[in-house]
């Protein structure tokens, strides 16, 4: 799973938002706010971390069990796919 070129995670004070830049602005002109888990997943996807590594990071960061972390990860990446942010 990889974030498509042109989608960038930015910080505005303590909010994390995703904006489109370059050619991606033709497909997407909105913006999306990420919660903390979303931000963690996004930034790991950005540097190409494999799914398993991201799920372990969620387990560690939020002290949740692996099944919860996996379902959070699946739900979030499904919504990113739906929005066309990952390929």
């Amino acid at each position: 799973m990889k974030i498509k070129e042109g989608y960038k995670l930015c910080k505005v004070r303590d909010s994390s938002i995703v904006v489109a830049v370059g050619d991606a602005t033709m497909d997407f002109n909105g913006l999306v706010t990420l919660n903390q888990t979303g931000e963690l997943i996004w930034s790991m996807l950005e540097y190409g971390a494999p799914d398993g590594e991201i799920i372990s990071a969620i387990v560690k960061e939020y002290s949740v069990d692996e099944a919860t972390a996996k379902s959070d990860f699946d739900e979030f990446t499904a919504s990113l796919k739906g929005a066309g942010f990952i390929e």
Binding site: C10, R13, S15, I17, V21, N29, L31, T33
Partner: protein
């Protein structure tokens, strides 16, 4: 090429047509500048390109719109941004009312003028004020670019608050939490497809949120809409 002073910046452009020339007149600088902050060049090609699109714009209006668009895109480089809003100055402070076209932001600020007096509540830009952070302070500026009507003053004032309007049978107002305020501000501004410019714009949005409260208000056309917005914004504090 003429030099104008807009939002504290020296701006060079040549107005080929009367519409832009007349509207820019009160911003004309006393001395021409060879080193302006912003240089705008709207080519005939861009004007005819916009003219050929399905819209109701005249040739002269196309030049005016494109010049405004270039100005507001460049403004992002100077700790500033456009807000699609009607800006009214009262008691030395600016109150900005933003909304999508047709919601009634101009109606709302003209109600302020009727309520407080048109000599006390001054509309410095009825559609596209410039916002800038100068020496840590957030200011609203009148500019020649004010949409359909030429309602603007070559003036500035510190911003007291920003309010996003929607129509409602009852007047109701509340402060917007940070993520919603970010969306609202960006949706009523000019974005850039360039990442560096976008980062500057987002930094300005962050600076705005640190300095002034942002509201959402459901409003009707009764005079108590004015007291509702004024009283809430007057005592609003940054979240």
């Amino acid at each position: 090429m003429s030099t104008y002073e807009i939002a504290g910046l020296t701006v060079n452009y040549s107005a080929k047509y009367d519409h832009l020339r007349k509207r820019s007149a009160k911003y004309r600088a006393a001395e021409p500048s060879s080193t302006p902050d912003i240089s705008i060049n709207v080519t005939d090609g861009r004007i005819s390109g916009l003219l050929s699109r399905p819209n109701e714009l005249t040739l002269e209006e196309c030049e005016y719109m494109l010049t405004g668009q270039d100005f507001y895109t460049s403004l992002i480089d100077f700790n500033g941004m456009l807000l699609h809003a009607s800006a009214v100055v009262f008691e030395g402070e600016a109150y900005l009312f933003s909304a999508p076209c047709g919601t009634g932001k101009s109606t709302h600020t003209s109600m302020w003028q009727r309520y407080f007096g048109a000599d006390k509540a001054i509309i410095i830009n009825d559609d596209k004020p410039a916002i800038r952070i100068i020496n840590g302070e957030l200011l609203a500026y009148g500019t020649p670019f004010s949409g359909k009507y030429d309602i603007n003053e070559n003036a500035s004032a510190p911003i007291r608050g920003i309010c996003f309007l929607y129509r409602s049978p009852k007047n109701t107002i509340g402060q917007l939490p940070q993520p919603k305020a970010i969306h609202a501000l960006l949706n009523q501004s000019i974005r850039s497809s360039d990442f560096g410019t976008m980062q500057k714009l987002l930094a300005t949005v962050g600076d705005i949120l640190e300095r002034v409260p942002v509201f959402s208000m459901g409003c009707n056309m009764n005079p108590d809409a004015v007291t509702t917005s004024y009283e809430a914004m007057k005592k609003g504090k940054v979240l």
